[in-house]
Protein backbone atom coordinates (compact mmCIF):
# COMPACT_ATOMS: atom_id res chain seq x y z
CA UNK A 1 0.00 0.00 0.00
CA UNK A 2 2.99 2.26 0.29
CA UNK A 3 2.71 3.29 3.92
CA UNK A 4 6.10 1.69 4.63
CA UNK A 5 7.75 4.03 2.11
CA UNK A 6 6.87 6.95 4.37
CA UNK A 7 8.96 5.58 7.21
CA UNK A 8 11.93 4.70 5.03
CA UNK A 9 14.98 6.90 5.50
CA UNK A 10 14.18 10.57 5.89
CA UNK A 11 10.94 10.48 3.92
CA UNK A 12 8.63 11.54 6.74
CA UNK A 13 10.92 14.42 7.69
CA UNK A 14 11.03 15.49 4.05
CA UNK A 15 7.23 15.45 3.81
CA UNK A 16 6.95 17.53 6.96
CA UNK A 17 9.55 19.96 5.63
CA UNK A 18 7.42 20.26 2.48
CA UNK A 19 4.39 21.02 4.61
CA UNK A 20 6.51 23.56 6.47
CA UNK A 21 7.41 25.32 3.20
CA UNK A 22 3.71 25.73 2.33
CA UNK A 23 2.90 26.75 5.89
CA UNK A 24 5.59 29.44 5.88
CA UNK A 25 4.05 31.05 2.80
CA UNK A 26 0.57 30.93 4.27
CA UNK A 27 1.61 32.35 7.63
CA UNK A 28 3.49 35.27 6.06
CA UNK A 29 0.48 35.96 3.84
CA UNK A 30 -1.90 35.72 6.80
CA UNK A 31 0.16 38.23 8.79
CA UNK A 32 0.20 40.69 5.87
CA UNK A 33 -3.51 40.14 5.14
CA UNK A 34 -4.58 40.75 8.72
CA UNK A 35 -2.70 44.04 9.02
CA UNK A 36 -3.72 45.38 5.60
CA UNK A 37 -7.23 43.93 5.91
CA UNK A 38 -7.94 45.70 9.20
CA UNK A 39 -6.74 49.00 7.74
CA UNK A 40 -8.76 48.58 4.56
CA UNK A 41 -11.84 47.36 6.42
CA UNK A 42 -11.81 50.49 8.57
CA UNK A 43 -11.39 52.65 5.47
CA UNK A 44 -14.46 50.97 3.97
CA UNK A 45 -16.66 51.98 6.89
CA UNK A 46 -15.90 55.67 6.30
CA UNK A 47 -18.51 55.75 3.52
CA UNK A 48 -16.38 57.79 1.12
CA UNK A 49 -17.76 57.21 -2.41
CA UNK A 50 -14.34 57.02 -4.10
CA UNK A 51 -12.96 54.52 -1.59
CA UNK A 52 -16.16 52.50 -1.79
CA UNK A 53 -16.05 52.31 -5.58
CA UNK A 54 -12.41 51.20 -5.62
CA UNK A 55 -12.84 48.62 -2.87
CA UNK A 56 -15.96 47.22 -4.53
CA UNK A 57 -14.06 46.56 -7.73
CA UNK A 58 -11.18 45.09 -5.73
CA UNK A 59 -13.46 42.78 -3.73
CA UNK A 60 -15.31 41.69 -6.86
CA UNK A 61 -12.04 40.81 -8.61
CA UNK A 62 -10.98 38.70 -5.65
CA UNK A 63 -14.46 37.17 -5.43
CA UNK A 64 -14.57 35.90 -9.00
CA UNK A 65 -10.91 35.28 -9.92
CA UNK A 66 -9.56 31.88 -8.89
CA UNK A 67 -6.39 32.19 -6.82
CA UNK A 68 -4.70 29.95 -9.35
CA UNK A 69 -5.35 32.48 -12.13
CA UNK A 70 -3.99 35.30 -9.98
CA UNK A 71 -0.95 33.18 -9.26
CA UNK A 72 -0.32 32.72 -12.97
CA UNK A 73 -0.83 36.40 -13.70
CA UNK A 74 1.72 37.44 -11.11
CA UNK A 75 4.21 34.65 -11.70
CA UNK A 76 4.19 34.67 -15.52
CA UNK A 77 2.57 37.97 -16.42
CA UNK A 78 4.56 40.24 -14.14
CA UNK A 79 7.86 38.91 -15.44
CA UNK A 80 6.71 39.31 -19.01
CA UNK A 81 5.55 42.88 -18.47
CA UNK A 82 8.41 44.27 -16.42
CA UNK A 83 11.28 41.93 -17.18
CA UNK A 84 11.87 41.59 -13.42
CA UNK A 85 12.06 38.05 -12.18
CA UNK A 86 9.85 37.38 -9.17
CA UNK A 87 10.62 34.16 -7.35
CA UNK A 88 7.76 31.69 -6.99
CA UNK A 89 7.65 32.26 -3.22
CA UNK A 90 7.37 36.03 -3.54
CA UNK A 91 4.65 35.69 -6.20
CA UNK A 92 2.74 33.33 -3.93
CA UNK A 93 2.96 35.70 -0.97
CA UNK A 94 1.83 38.62 -3.16
CA UNK A 95 -1.18 36.70 -4.50
CA UNK A 96 -2.30 35.24 -1.19
CA UNK A 97 -1.92 38.59 0.56
CA UNK A 98 -3.90 40.28 -2.22
CA UNK A 99 -6.64 37.71 -1.76
CA UNK A 100 -6.46 37.56 2.04
CA UNK A 101 -6.54 41.34 2.45
CA UNK A 102 -9.84 41.52 0.57
CA UNK A 103 -11.35 38.70 2.63
CA UNK A 104 -10.11 40.19 5.89
CA UNK A 105 -11.27 43.69 4.98
CA UNK A 106 -14.74 42.35 4.25
CA UNK A 107 -14.82 40.58 7.63
CA UNK A 108 -13.64 43.71 9.45
CA UNK A 109 -16.20 45.86 7.67
CA UNK A 110 -18.96 43.37 8.49
CA UNK A 111 -18.00 43.32 12.16
CA UNK A 112 -17.72 47.08 12.42
CA UNK A 113 -21.13 47.81 10.94
CA UNK A 114 -22.68 45.11 13.12
CA UNK A 115 -21.97 47.16 16.27
CA UNK A 116 -25.28 48.86 17.17
CA UNK A 117 -25.36 52.68 17.28
CA UNK A 118 -26.63 52.48 20.85
CA UNK A 119 -23.16 51.37 21.96
CA UNK A 120 -21.69 54.66 20.77
CA UNK A 121 -24.57 56.68 22.21
CA UNK A 122 -24.41 55.00 25.60
CA UNK A 123 -20.67 55.59 25.79
CA UNK A 124 -21.19 59.24 24.94
CA UNK A 125 -23.88 59.46 27.62
CA UNK A 126 -21.40 58.01 30.14
CA UNK A 127 -18.97 60.76 29.25
CA UNK A 128 -16.39 58.63 27.43
CA UNK A 129 -14.27 60.39 24.85
CA UNK A 130 -14.24 59.09 21.26
CA UNK A 131 -10.91 57.38 21.81
CA UNK A 132 -12.09 55.81 25.06
CA UNK A 133 -15.29 54.62 23.39
CA UNK A 134 -13.28 53.02 20.66
CA UNK A 135 -10.71 51.31 22.92
CA UNK A 136 -12.93 50.18 25.79
CA UNK A 137 -16.30 49.60 24.14
CA UNK A 138 -16.02 49.00 20.42
CA UNK A 139 -12.72 47.13 20.01
CA UNK A 140 -13.45 44.38 22.57
CA UNK A 141 -16.74 43.62 20.82
CA UNK A 142 -15.16 43.65 17.38
CA UNK A 143 -12.35 41.34 18.48
CA UNK A 144 -14.84 38.79 19.79
CA UNK A 145 -16.66 38.68 16.48
CA UNK A 146 -13.60 38.98 14.32
CA UNK A 147 -11.24 36.49 15.92
CA UNK A 148 -13.15 33.27 15.11
CA UNK A 149 -13.69 34.46 11.53
CA UNK A 150 -10.04 35.37 11.01
CA UNK A 151 -8.88 32.05 12.44
CA UNK A 152 -11.14 30.44 9.84
CA UNK A 153 -9.41 32.54 7.19
CA UNK A 154 -6.10 31.02 8.30
CA UNK A 155 -7.29 27.48 7.54
CA UNK A 156 -8.54 28.62 4.15
CA UNK A 157 -5.19 30.24 3.50
CA UNK A 158 -3.34 27.04 4.44
CA UNK A 159 -5.56 24.98 2.15
CA UNK A 160 -5.09 27.40 -0.72
CA UNK A 161 -1.29 27.41 -0.44
CA UNK A 162 -1.30 23.85 -1.77
CA UNK A 163 -1.66 25.58 -5.17
CA UNK A 164 1.93 26.87 -5.04
CA UNK A 165 3.00 23.46 -6.28
CA UNK A 166 1.66 24.50 -9.69
CA UNK A 167 4.23 27.31 -10.00
CA UNK A 168 7.08 25.03 -9.02
CA UNK A 169 7.50 25.46 -5.27
CA UNK A 170 8.57 22.21 -3.63
CA UNK A 171 5.90 21.69 -1.01
CA UNK A 172 4.32 18.60 0.48
CA UNK A 173 2.58 17.29 -2.69
CA UNK A 174 5.73 17.75 -4.74
CA UNK A 175 7.83 15.98 -2.09
CA UNK A 176 5.23 13.20 -2.15
CA UNK A 177 5.65 12.87 -5.91
CA UNK A 178 9.43 12.80 -5.54
CA UNK A 179 9.22 10.05 -2.93
CA UNK A 180 6.92 8.00 -5.17
CA UNK A 181 9.26 8.44 -8.13
CA UNK A 182 12.35 7.54 -6.11
CA UNK A 183 10.75 4.30 -4.92
CA UNK A 184 9.16 3.40 -8.24
CA UNK A 185 11.16 0.11 -8.41
CA UNK A 186 10.91 -1.14 -4.83
CA UNK A 187 7.38 0.04 -4.05
CA UNK A 188 5.41 0.55 -7.28
CA UNK A 189 2.17 1.12 -5.40
CA UNK A 190 3.44 3.79 -3.03
CA UNK A 191 1.16 6.50 -4.48
CA UNK A 192 -1.83 5.44 -2.40
CA UNK A 193 0.00 5.52 0.92
CA UNK A 194 1.95 8.68 0.24
CA UNK A 195 -1.03 10.74 -0.93
CA UNK A 196 -3.17 9.36 1.89
CA UNK A 197 -0.55 10.64 4.34
CA UNK A 198 -0.47 14.05 2.62
CA UNK A 199 -4.27 14.13 2.84
CA UNK A 200 -4.16 13.37 6.56
CA UNK A 201 -1.35 15.86 7.19
CA UNK A 202 -3.49 18.70 5.84
CA UNK A 203 -6.40 17.47 7.91
CA UNK A 204 -4.21 17.30 11.03
CA UNK A 205 -3.20 20.93 10.53
CA UNK A 206 -6.53 22.48 9.51
CA UNK A 207 -8.97 20.56 11.67
CA UNK A 208 -7.71 21.75 15.11
CA UNK A 209 -7.57 25.35 13.89
CA UNK A 210 -11.13 25.03 12.58
CA UNK A 211 -12.27 23.60 15.92
CA UNK A 212 -10.63 26.47 17.80
CA UNK A 213 -12.51 28.93 15.61
CA UNK A 214 -15.82 27.17 16.27
CA UNK A 215 -15.12 26.97 20.00
CA UNK A 216 -14.37 30.70 20.25
CA UNK A 217 -17.44 31.53 18.19
CA UNK A 218 -19.68 29.52 20.56
CA UNK A 219 -17.99 30.91 23.66
CA UNK A 220 -18.42 34.54 22.60
CA UNK A 221 -21.80 34.17 20.98
CA UNK A 222 -23.51 36.72 23.21
Amino acid sequence: MGIEVIFKGKNLVRLLAGLGAAMKISLISVAISIVLGIALGMLMTLKKPVINAITRVYLEIVRIMPQMVLLFIVFFGFTKLTGLNLSAEVSAVIVFSFWGTAEMADLVRGCMISIPVIQYESSAALGLSRLQTFIYVIVPQIVRRLLPLSINLITRMIKTTSLVMMIGIVEVLKVGQQIIEANRKTAPNAAFGVFAVVFLLYFAVCWPIGRLSKYLEKKWEN
Binding site: M1, M68, V69, M166, A191, A196
Partner: protein, 219 residues
Protein backbone atom coordinates in the same frame (compact mmCIF):
# COMPACT_ATOMS: atom_id res chain seq x y z
CA UNK B 1 -1.12 42.00 -27.27
CA UNK B 2 -1.51 40.47 -30.71
CA UNK B 3 -5.04 40.17 -32.10
CA UNK B 4 -3.98 37.44 -34.54
CA UNK B 5 -2.68 35.28 -31.71
CA UNK B 6 -5.90 35.80 -29.77
CA UNK B 7 -7.95 34.79 -32.79
CA UNK B 8 -5.85 31.69 -33.17
CA UNK B 9 -6.19 30.76 -29.50
CA UNK B 10 -9.89 31.49 -29.20
CA UNK B 11 -11.17 28.07 -30.39
CA UNK B 12 -8.80 26.28 -28.00
CA UNK B 13 -9.98 28.37 -25.09
CA UNK B 14 -13.65 28.00 -26.06
CA UNK B 15 -13.27 24.24 -26.02
CA UNK B 16 -11.56 24.33 -22.64
CA UNK B 17 -14.22 26.74 -21.38
CA UNK B 18 -17.02 24.33 -22.27
CA UNK B 19 -15.21 21.46 -20.57
CA UNK B 20 -14.57 23.53 -17.44
CA UNK B 21 -18.21 24.63 -17.28
CA UNK B 22 -19.46 21.10 -17.85
CA UNK B 23 -17.35 19.56 -15.11
CA UNK B 24 -17.90 22.54 -12.82
CA UNK B 25 -21.69 22.43 -12.96
CA UNK B 26 -21.86 18.62 -12.90
CA UNK B 27 -19.70 18.75 -9.78
CA UNK B 28 -21.95 21.40 -8.25
CA UNK B 29 -25.06 19.31 -9.01
CA UNK B 30 -23.40 16.34 -7.33
CA UNK B 31 -22.39 18.57 -4.41
CA UNK B 32 -25.99 19.72 -3.92
CA UNK B 33 -27.32 16.15 -4.01
CA UNK B 34 -24.66 14.92 -1.60
CA UNK B 35 -25.03 17.99 0.61
CA UNK B 36 -28.79 17.59 0.99
CA UNK B 37 -28.51 13.90 1.90
CA UNK B 38 -25.70 14.54 4.37
CA UNK B 39 -27.38 17.58 5.92
CA UNK B 40 -30.56 15.64 6.69
CA UNK B 41 -28.58 12.70 8.03
CA UNK B 42 -26.88 15.06 10.49
CA UNK B 43 -30.04 17.07 11.24
CA UNK B 44 -32.11 14.01 12.17
CA UNK B 45 -29.07 12.45 13.92
CA UNK B 46 -29.51 9.04 12.27
CA UNK B 47 -27.46 6.55 14.29
CA UNK B 48 -24.09 5.41 12.82
CA UNK B 49 -24.79 7.17 9.50
CA UNK B 50 -24.56 10.63 11.03
CA UNK B 51 -21.18 9.78 12.57
CA UNK B 52 -19.88 8.66 9.17
CA UNK B 53 -21.28 11.76 7.49
CA UNK B 54 -19.77 14.03 10.12
CA UNK B 55 -16.36 12.40 9.58
CA UNK B 56 -16.66 12.85 5.82
CA UNK B 57 -17.69 16.48 6.14
CA UNK B 58 -14.82 17.33 8.51
CA UNK B 59 -12.30 15.44 6.37
CA UNK B 60 -13.20 17.16 3.11
CA UNK B 61 -13.74 20.62 4.56
CA UNK B 62 -10.28 20.57 6.08
CA UNK B 63 -8.23 19.46 3.07
CA UNK B 64 -7.51 21.26 -0.22
CA UNK B 65 -9.12 20.08 -3.46
CA UNK B 66 -5.69 19.67 -5.04
CA UNK B 67 -4.71 17.08 -2.42
CA UNK B 68 -8.06 15.32 -2.79
CA UNK B 69 -7.64 15.12 -6.56
CA UNK B 70 -4.10 13.79 -6.22
CA UNK B 71 -5.34 11.12 -3.88
CA UNK B 72 -8.23 10.09 -6.15
CA UNK B 73 -6.40 10.38 -9.47
CA UNK B 74 -2.85 9.22 -8.60
CA UNK B 75 -3.36 7.40 -5.29
CA UNK B 76 -6.37 5.17 -5.91
CA UNK B 77 -5.03 3.46 -9.10
CA UNK B 78 -2.31 1.79 -7.02
CA UNK B 79 -4.99 -0.13 -5.13
CA UNK B 80 -6.76 -0.96 -8.38
CA UNK B 81 -9.34 1.82 -8.68
CA UNK B 82 -8.76 3.66 -11.95
CA UNK B 83 -11.07 6.43 -13.18
CA UNK B 84 -10.86 8.94 -16.01
CA UNK B 85 -9.65 12.49 -15.40
CA UNK B 86 -13.07 13.95 -16.20
CA UNK B 87 -14.87 11.67 -13.78
CA UNK B 88 -12.19 12.31 -11.18
CA UNK B 89 -12.66 16.07 -11.54
CA UNK B 90 -16.43 15.82 -11.21
CA UNK B 91 -16.18 13.42 -8.30
CA UNK B 92 -13.53 15.49 -6.50
CA UNK B 93 -15.50 18.70 -6.89
CA UNK B 94 -18.71 16.92 -5.86
CA UNK B 95 -17.14 15.45 -2.74
CA UNK B 96 -15.52 18.73 -1.72
CA UNK B 97 -18.70 20.67 -2.48
CA UNK B 98 -20.90 18.09 -0.77
CA UNK B 99 -19.16 18.72 2.54
CA UNK B 100 -19.54 22.51 2.21
CA UNK B 101 -23.17 22.29 1.09
CA UNK B 102 -23.99 19.87 3.93
CA UNK B 103 -22.68 22.35 6.50
CA UNK B 104 -24.61 25.27 4.99
CA UNK B 105 -27.88 23.36 4.78
CA UNK B 106 -27.50 21.83 8.25
CA UNK B 107 -26.75 25.18 9.90
CA UNK B 108 -29.80 26.62 8.12
CA UNK B 109 -32.01 23.83 9.46
CA UNK B 110 -30.61 24.15 12.97
CA UNK B 111 -31.05 27.91 12.99
CA UNK B 112 -34.84 27.50 12.89
CA UNK B 113 -35.93 27.63 16.57
CA UNK B 114 -37.43 24.45 18.06
CA UNK B 115 -40.60 26.36 18.96
CA UNK B 116 -41.45 26.54 15.26
CA UNK B 117 -41.82 22.79 14.85
CA UNK B 118 -43.52 22.49 18.25
CA UNK B 119 -46.07 25.15 17.30
CA UNK B 120 -46.67 23.46 13.97
CA UNK B 121 -47.28 20.21 15.80
CA UNK B 122 -49.74 21.81 18.21
CA UNK B 123 -51.63 23.22 15.24
CA UNK B 124 -52.14 19.63 14.14
CA UNK B 125 -49.73 19.59 11.25
CA UNK B 126 -48.16 16.30 10.30
CA UNK B 127 -44.39 15.97 10.44
CA UNK B 128 -44.16 16.42 6.67
CA UNK B 129 -46.47 19.45 6.65
CA UNK B 130 -44.47 21.07 9.45
CA UNK B 131 -41.31 20.53 7.47
CA UNK B 132 -42.71 21.58 4.10
CA UNK B 133 -44.59 24.72 5.18
CA UNK B 134 -42.82 25.87 8.37
CA UNK B 135 -39.24 24.63 8.70
CA UNK B 136 -38.05 24.36 5.09
CA UNK B 137 -38.94 27.91 3.95
CA UNK B 138 -37.18 29.47 6.95
CA UNK B 139 -34.16 27.18 6.76
CA UNK B 140 -33.85 27.80 3.03
CA UNK B 141 -33.71 31.56 3.49
CA UNK B 142 -30.97 31.22 6.08
CA UNK B 143 -28.95 28.80 3.94
CA UNK B 144 -29.09 30.70 0.64
CA UNK B 145 -26.16 33.13 1.15
CA UNK B 146 -23.91 30.25 2.20
CA UNK B 147 -25.02 28.05 -0.70
CA UNK B 148 -24.40 30.82 -3.23
CA UNK B 149 -20.96 31.47 -1.79
CA UNK B 150 -20.27 27.74 -2.13
CA UNK B 151 -21.30 27.72 -5.80
CA UNK B 152 -18.88 30.55 -6.58
CA UNK B 153 -16.16 28.90 -4.51
CA UNK B 154 -16.62 25.60 -6.39
CA UNK B 155 -16.58 27.26 -9.80
CA UNK B 156 -13.30 28.93 -8.82
CA UNK B 157 -11.89 25.63 -7.62
CA UNK B 158 -12.24 24.22 -11.15
CA UNK B 159 -8.93 25.98 -11.85
CA UNK B 160 -7.22 23.16 -9.96
CA UNK B 161 -8.23 20.52 -12.52
CA UNK B 162 -5.17 21.20 -14.66
CA UNK B 163 -3.16 19.27 -12.05
CA UNK B 164 -4.76 16.00 -13.17
CA UNK B 165 -4.14 16.90 -16.83
CA UNK B 166 -7.72 17.80 -17.67
CA UNK B 167 -7.72 20.14 -20.68
CA UNK B 168 -9.42 22.95 -18.80
CA UNK B 169 -8.84 26.73 -19.09
CA UNK B 170 -5.86 26.70 -16.75
CA UNK B 171 -4.23 23.78 -18.54
CA UNK B 172 -4.74 25.37 -21.94
CA UNK B 173 -3.23 28.65 -20.77
CA UNK B 174 -0.24 26.93 -19.20
CA UNK B 175 0.25 24.77 -22.28
CA UNK B 176 0.17 27.72 -24.67
CA UNK B 177 2.52 29.78 -22.50
CA UNK B 178 4.94 26.88 -22.53
CA UNK B 179 4.62 26.27 -26.28
CA UNK B 180 4.68 29.76 -27.80
CA UNK B 181 5.61 32.19 -24.98
CA UNK B 182 2.54 34.30 -25.84
CA UNK B 183 2.10 34.95 -22.13
CA UNK B 184 0.10 38.18 -22.36
CA UNK B 185 -2.45 36.82 -24.84
CA UNK B 186 -2.88 33.53 -22.99
CA UNK B 187 -3.35 35.21 -19.63
CA UNK B 188 -5.75 37.75 -21.14
CA UNK B 189 -7.95 34.98 -22.54
CA UNK B 190 -7.71 33.03 -19.31
CA UNK B 191 -8.96 35.99 -17.29
CA UNK B 192 -11.61 36.81 -19.91
CA UNK B 193 -13.09 33.33 -19.82
CA UNK B 194 -13.08 33.15 -16.03
CA UNK B 195 -14.91 36.49 -15.93
CA UNK B 196 -17.38 35.11 -18.46
CA UNK B 197 -17.88 32.08 -16.26
CA UNK B 198 -18.18 33.76 -12.87
CA UNK B 199 -19.46 37.29 -13.30
CA UNK B 200 -23.01 36.22 -14.33
CA UNK B 201 -23.11 33.79 -11.41
CA UNK B 202 -21.88 36.42 -8.99
CA UNK B 203 -24.44 38.90 -10.35
CA UNK B 204 -27.32 36.42 -10.21
CA UNK B 205 -26.21 35.49 -6.70
CA UNK B 206 -26.52 39.07 -5.46
CA UNK B 207 -30.02 39.31 -6.96
CA UNK B 208 -31.16 36.08 -5.34
CA UNK B 209 -29.66 37.14 -2.03
CA UNK B 210 -31.59 40.41 -2.20
CA UNK B 211 -34.84 38.55 -2.93
CA UNK B 212 -34.27 36.20 -0.01
CA UNK B 213 -33.41 39.07 2.32
CA UNK B 214 -36.65 40.75 1.33
CA UNK B 215 -38.53 37.57 2.16
CA UNK B 216 -36.94 37.48 5.59
CA UNK B 217 -36.79 41.08 6.72
CA UNK B 218 -38.83 42.99 4.14
CA UNK B 219 -36.14 45.60 3.39
Amino acid sequence: MDIEVIKRYLPLFSKAFLLTIKIGWLGIALAFALGIVCAFTMYYKLPVLSAIVRFYVELFRNTPLLVQLFFIYYGLPSIGIRISAELCGTLGLGLLGGSYMAESIRSGLEAVPAIQSESAKSLGMTKWQAFRYVIAPQAFNISVPGLLANVIFLLKETSVFSAISLMDLMFTAKDLIGLHYNTTESLFLLVLFYILMLLPVSFAGSLIEKKVRFGMYGD
